[in-house]
Symmetry: C2
Subunit: 183 residues, 2 copies
């Protein structure tokens, strides 16, 4: 594994604003120097939930995605709140967005967003043994829940309203680990 | 499909800075009103390249990821430059980061980053019929090229230095579409 660059200095630009930037003065092991910018992660981290209604069926939700101004189909996800651990946050998001709670929750991996310039990381949580329970969320409208067969990811990824890298990655990770017996 | 919310007003905060934010005043079809913020996409778009050395082997690169201050293993990717189309940008990135050009390039999908608050989109390009060619890039050090078997994504996703949602999603998309005969 290569030797990590030395961070000679760092400073925050736009401190206190929602999209603050951290500037890093770096020296690589070959002596090259660069100044890079990155977005610090926010808060207590994020979770994305692969919830299995049965061993072959995962719960997707359809909700408005402001970044694309479009309705997107993907996995429930959100930020972990104060006083919650990752699994509690995952279960709350599942109840708010999909109307189910889970009796069994396991972290099966971690996904980054754009690791070259964002510090954001999202825990991938597998949720099983579901039961109906809805919590009120802060969404302007209740997301539509769309059950999807895990053996039909091939048609899912060809849909124009399925684009989020983290959702697609988490679905395949869960399926791969379940099928390979790693879970 | 639900009716898209109406955008009553929009404004850019921090205009001209690298991480500018667009604020949107939205009215949902049920009458709920919200103000959302999103990061506009930058430039001419981005590409991520699934390059096949042979039908069973994909080229990964190991490079420094400032957002995580770690070396990450993932697919070659980058921004499309002025005067390039997506496939030309993909071929240039492949030559700069992996030291290969491709005689056959196809767009097989589009990935978004965080569609609820980012407009960023990345074209997934499948590159085949490779030949050695290196172009100088702007990286401070030449990325290490790591060939990986497409039938061994299971161990890849369990590595701690493999976290990027887009890379993992693009690898499984390519494998799924190739195996299902959709490509």
């Amino acid at each position: 594994m290569p030797k990590l660059p030395v961070i000679h200095a760092s400073r925050i630009l736009g401190e206190g604003t929602r999209f603050a930037v951290e500037q890093l003065d770096l020296e690589f092991s070959n002596g090259e120097r660069r100044t890079y910018e990155r977005m610090p992660g926010r808060g207590r981290g994020a979770v994305i939930v692969v919830a299995l209604l049965d061993p072959d069926t995962v719960l997707l939700i359809r909700e408005y995605a402001c970044g694309l101004h479009a309705y997107e189909l993907g996995l429930p996800k959100g930020r972990v709140e104060h006083g919650e651990d990752l699994l509690e946050g995952a279960n709350r998001e599942l109840k708010e967005e999909a109307g189910y709670g889970a009796r069994r929750l396991r972290r099966i991996g971690t996904l980054s967003l754009a690791p070259t310039y964002m510090a954001h990381q999202t825990a991938v949580v597998l949720a099983e043994d579901l039961y109906p329970e809805r919590l009120p969320g802060d969404e302007p409208e209740e997301p539509e829940v769309v059950p999807w067969r895990l053996d039909d990811l091939s048609s899912l990824i060809q849909r124009e309203d399925v684009t989020e890298g983290r959702s697609i990655a988490a679905l395949f990770m869960a399926r791969e680990l379940l099928r390979s017996g790693a879970l």
